[in-house]
């Protein structure tokens, strides 16, 4: 940003965003440090590690698991994960017979307090269009092939309720601590397009 050399020309979108930000600053409609704070919160603090902590805790504490499935919002708030796009969070428990998968076909609604901002594929037209009509084909593209006896439940987040999936605890994790278990809980497993990782996968 030195003004002297630019390895790549800036995109029109980048230019346009600067024009808008400049005008809003000049008019006193936004505070630059507030924008910084918002960006920083979701780049650094609020992401899928929050959800992974919730999941790992539910794996080791059956009572918490029950609370989490009965009232996700309250149980998640015990960790301080509250706020924007999480006024009401419903947690969907996977079982050997049920795979829950979350989408927002109309938009890209997502439980920010536990998962942060959604990945690009979740916001893609392909995912939004396809997962409600051919979820098994979509899951296969994520590497998840499900047996025919497993029921696939797709949840379309069309209201202001947000959904998070509680993946099954992998086998062979009996002696692991909560912190160790957290490493097995991928973002994708909490959207429902993957299983939690096995200890072997994370080495």
């Amino acid at each position: 940003m030195s003004g002297q050399h630019h390895p790549e020309p800036e995109s029109y979108a980048a230019i346009r965003a600067r024009a808008i930000e400049s005008l809003l600053v000049e008019k006193g409609l936004i505070a630059s440090d507030a924008v910084d704070a918002r960006v920083q919160a979701y780049e650094q603090d609020i992401g899928p590690l929050n959800g992974a902590r919730v999941v790992a805790h539910a794996w080791v504490d059956p009572e918490y698991r029950t609370r989490l499935l009965e009232n996700g919002t309250e149980a998640i708030a015990e960790f301080g994960y509250t706020g924007a796009q999480g006024a009401e969070i419903v947690v969907l428990g996977n079982t050997p017979d049920i795979q829950n998968v979350v989408v927002c076909t109309l938009c890209s609604c997502y439980p920010w307090p536990v998962l942060g901002l959604p990945p690009t594929w979740y916001k893609s037209h392909a995912y939004r269009a396809r997962v409600v009509i051919e979820p098994r084909a979509v899951l296969k593209e994520f590497g998840l092939e499900l047996d025919d006896v497993v029921e696939v439940r797709v949840w379309d987040s069309n209201s202001d309720i947000r959904y998070m999936v509680l993946p099954e605890r992998p086998s062979g994790t009996e002696g692991m601590t909560e912190d160790q278990l957290m490493a097995l809980v991928s973002r994708d497993s909490m959207i429902g397009v993957a299983k939690a990782k096995s200890p072997a996968q994370v080495g």
Binding site: E10, A13, I20, R38, E43, T105, L106, C107, E151
Partner: protein, 227 residues
């Protein structure tokens, strides 16, 4: 609105493109747009009753399909600011030209620690969404009831996707009482029971359905009739 955004069940969009270890924002401008969109509303009612998404839904279909996610946000923000009179088309184009001519020019800063403090607090602020039914609003349906989604074709914002309209499902759960979000006449606005409704894939997609699959979707009561 029967808009391009209502794409559940459409074919032709190709495979899901999955990026490993993707950053939260791919370009700094995406973060700025995100930050502007989500902080400006703390102080100003920029988006109106149907939110930023109603502006996103109003992006012309050809533009909607080629714009990236944050390009859609930026377009919607622009249109909301223009509609509210907080920006004019002329000043926006003039400022854009300035930056096109001087790509290295800095964006001015305005610090406001108090506003920033509020923004940081708002991020984690608990605002209850739903309330329990009371004497005034009693749910018309019970868990297990068969219901049919109405064939509503609103021109404005709606949360009833096309792919469930006219289809028969089952009430799975009552989600308390929530404000209705659709762009309807004032007499139809206000709080309603919201249900989780389950539709079998065969009901939604006929012979094209994959086996052993169901779809759950949140339905405001006025979307439903007894089946």
């Amino acid at each position: 609105m029967n808009g391009i955004h209502d794409m559940g069940g459409m074919h032709g969009f190709g495979p899901i493109e999955i990026e490993e270890d993707e950053p939260v924002f791919h370009q700094p401008w995406e973060g700025r747009v995100y930050g502007i969109v989500t902080t400006i509303r703390d102080a100003h009612d920029v988006y109106g009753p149907y939110g930023l998404r109603s502006y996103i839904e109003s992006i012309p279909p050809d533009r909607y399909l080629v714009a990236s996610y944050y390009e859609k946000w930026m377009l919607a923000l622009e249109n909301a600011l223009l509609a509210k009179g907080l920006l004019s088309k002329e000043e926006l184009e003039a400022k854009t030209s300035e930056y096109l001519d001087n790509p290295g020019a800095a964006v001015p800063r305005r610090e406001d620690p108090e506003a920033t403090q509020r923004v940081v607090e708002n991020i984690r602020l608990r605002l209850p969404l739903a309330k329990d039914p009371d004497a005034d609003i009693r749910p018309a349906f019970q868990v297990g009831d068969a219901v049919k989604a109405r064939n509503i074709n609103l021109r404005g914002h709606s949360r009833l996707p096309r792919y469930v309209r006219g289809k028969v499902g089952t009430i799975e759960k009552l989600y308390k009482i929530q404000d209705f979000q659709d762009h309807v006449p004032e007499s139809e606005q206000g709080p309603q029971p919201v249900y989780s409704v389950r539709f079998k894939a065969e009901e939604l997609w006929g012979a094209a359905a994959e086996g052993n699959q169901s779809l759950y979707i949140d339905m405001w009561e006025s979307y439903l009739e007894s089946a």
